[in-house]
């Protein structure tokens, strides 16, 4: 067990490193901070001097190592070109909003997916099952932002039930959360359903029933616990999906979170901020995967033996 964790931890660190490398080089190729920061009339010599000052004329690898050094030790991504404050600070300001959105979406998703999935599995071929399958199918084909826009149009403009932008109250959270939730709902529903199906067909469930156990107990105590395993692993991986979906959702609803910051920063070439966001995102995703894997290994001893 310990070796498994260590192995995964090392892998995760490696992944983070590689991601930071890729993002660094991508942005390095992409933007020239001198052009962004200096006024357009700057002379060639001014530009050269500026670069020297900022250390931008050194070889790429040196710059990367310096970057790594700064980030790991001080969390210093440099200052945002646009806002003139520390990039990490900017990220920190916007992070809670995104987290709020993601958590709300996650709760919503599982609130719906788990019961629906279970019922769909228990009463196979029933109306509920078919509806759920249909919903999953539709959900997978639905472009996220279109769904968001349609929600805005229907609930915000036609019916005027809910506010459509900004983030002041709980009411503001509803539409964005639903939108983000729809990104992940189909997968979760399917997983719960197929997980339960697999488990329900196993012999030990028949044994439990034969023992005369209350059906409810059978389902919850025996079946669901085992069916939950694939769900747990997926939730970890979904962190990445959620973050990706957040980018779009926040753009549609003008939600002041990391996603919108990312889009704006890329558009404006504010690369310290973009780097900070990428690294933070990747960090969460990798941690999420790691936690999910470890959790799964804890619950299911078979994984540990591999």
């Amino acid at each position: 067990m310990r070796t498994y964790i260590i192995k995964r931890l090392l892998q995760s660190i490696g992944v983070c490193l590689v991601i930071s490398m890729i993002s660094f080089f991508l942005l390095f190729l992409n933007t020239d901070p001198a052009l962004v920061l200096l006024p357009p009339e700057a002379e060639v010599t001014d530009i050269a001097q500026f670069k020297k000052q900022m250390g931008l004329d050194r070889p790429v690898t040196i710059q990367y190592l310096d970057f790594l050094h700064r980030v790991v030790l001080y969390g210093d991504f440099g200052n945002s070109f646009v806002a003139k404050v520390s990039a990490l600070q900017l990220v920190g300001e916007r992070l809670p909003a995104t987290v709020k959105l993601a958590v709300a979406a996650l709760i919503l998703v599982n609130l719906v997916a788990i019961p629906v999935g279970i019922i769909a599995a228990i009463r196979r071929y029933s109306l509920m099952d078919n509806l759920a399958t249909l919903a999953a199918l539709l959900g997978q084909a639905m472009p996220l932002y279109w769904f968001g826009i349609m929600l805005i149009i229907i609930f915000g403009i036609w019916l005027r039930w809910l506010p459509i932008s900004g983030s002041d109250s709980l009411a503001h959270l509803i539409l964005p959360a639903i939108t983000l939730a729809s990104w992940i709902l189909p997968v979760n529903m399917r997983l719960v359903r197929s997980g339960m199906l697999d488990v329900l067909n196993q012999d030990y469930i028949r044994t439990a029933r034969a023992k005369g156990l209350n059906e409810r107990k059978v389902l919850i105590k025996h079946a669901f616990k085992n069916a939950a395993i694939p769900l747990v692993t997926v939730v970890g991986m979904q962190l990445g999906l959620l973050l990706g979906g957040a980018v779009v959702t926040e753009t549609v609803f003008a939600w002041p979170g990391l996603g919108r910051l990312a889009v704006d920063s890329i558009r404006m070439g504010d690369y310290p901020v973009v780097q900070a966001i990428v690294v933070v995102f990747a960090f969460f995703v990798v941690i999420g995967n790691l936690l999910a894997d470890v959790l799964a290994a804890l619950i299911d001893p078979r994984i540990r033996l591999e």
Partner: protein, 331 residues
């Protein structure tokens, strides 16, 4: 078809062949132990003859067969084929070697590519190795199929349309396409119904009579190799325990393991052989090849175990010309 001339020289010689599979654990993949699949096997085989290699599941006989074809890399020891040392042969020479040694596999359901037609399966070798000019491919494939008892109109069909026995025949035809000198048959009939087993074994024998191959037949059931082998080698837990000619083994078995194997063979004629009353049942289970017993591997189950059997590896004792046993009892 040429008849290969029967030569007095050896076609195959194996010297102290060992194949150990490392067991890795831990973060860095440390080797914590080995599976001693083949642990020092030596024997020789003459051209035009059939050698039966018999033993229980897990005794290493399949691994042995695959080492011969270099499908596994031997850990140590040497293999001589047709006088040449092939143990460490390089890649390009290996290709030439492979055309002379072929294998028939155990599972008829996974030994044929389900997506290719029979004609392609059997004929691919012709194409790859340019054995026959292009315009003759179809004829040659037809010929090969007929040799194994199938028909020309089977050529266009897919494996799943055939029974297990027929699939084995296709596998045999595929091996024949290369006109090898040696065919290693790895449990060729274990996956077939008993009634079909005899058919396939007979086919192998008739092919040998016609084309003069040499066979190494690997099996876990003595009755399978009984009447087709010229010589038989019995293997246990990675080592040989007895090697003898067909007749010698049946009439005069020496090693207690061989006797037990023979006693397990169902006898056709009731009251035929006296051995039935002397059921020699073995105690216990086969030990793990990861931690084989000290000294003689068989001592944990041997009815004639002596103290020395736990201490040293048994010597090679010649009982009669061409008949060797590896046992202290006869030393």
């Amino acid at each position: 078809m040429n008849m290969a001339r029967v030569q007095a020289q050896e076609l195959l010689r194996v010297e102290n062949l060992k194949k150990h599979f490392p067991i890795r654990k831990g973060v860095l993949g440390r080797t914590v132990g080995y599976v001693y699949a083949v642990d020092g096997v030596s024997f020789g085989m003459q051209a035009g003859k059939t050698l039966g290699l018999v033993g229980e599941s897990g005794c290493g006989k399949s691994t042995m067969g695959r080492c011969l074809l270099r499908l596994h890399e031997p850990t140590s020891g040497r293999i001589f084929f047709d006088g040449q040392d092939i143990t460490r042969m390089g890649h390009s020479e290996l290709i030439r070697l492979r055309t002379q040694m072929q294998m028939i596999f155990q599972d008829p359901y996974s030994s044929l590519n389900p997506r290719l037609r029979v004609s392609e399966i059997v004929g691919e070798a012709l194409r790859v190795h340019h054995l026959v000019p292009r315009r003759d491919w179809a004829n040659r494939v037809e010929e090969l199929l007929k040799n194994v008892g199938l028909q020309a109109d089977h050529m266009a069909r897919y494996p799943h349309e055939f029974s297990g026995g027929q699939r084995q025949r296709i596998g045999i035809a595929r091996a024949l396409a290369m006109q090898p000198k040696l065919i290693v048959a790895d449990e060729p009939v274990s996956a077939l119904d008993v009634s079909i087993q005899a058919q396939v074994i007979n086919l192998l024998e008739s092919l040998k009579d016609r084309f003069g191959f040499s066979y190494l037949i690997i099996a876990h059931d003595l009755s399978v190799v009984e009447h087709v082998s010229d010589r038989i080698a019995v293997m246990y837990l990675g080592k040989l325990v007895e090697v003898a000619s067909d007749k010698q083994l049946y009439l005069n078995p020496k090693h207690p393991y061989t006797e037990a194997l023979l006693a397990a063979v169902p006898v056709a004629a009731p009251g035929g052989r006296q051995r039935r009353s002397q059921r020699k049942l073995l105690k216990g289970d086969v030990p793990s090849p990861i931690q084989p017993p000290s000294g003689c591997r068989f001592h944990t189950r041997c009815p004639r175990m002596m103290e020395i059997c736990t201490l040293k590896e048994p010597p090679t004792i010649q009982v009669e010309p061409g008949h060797w046993v590896y046992c202290f009892f006869y030393g």
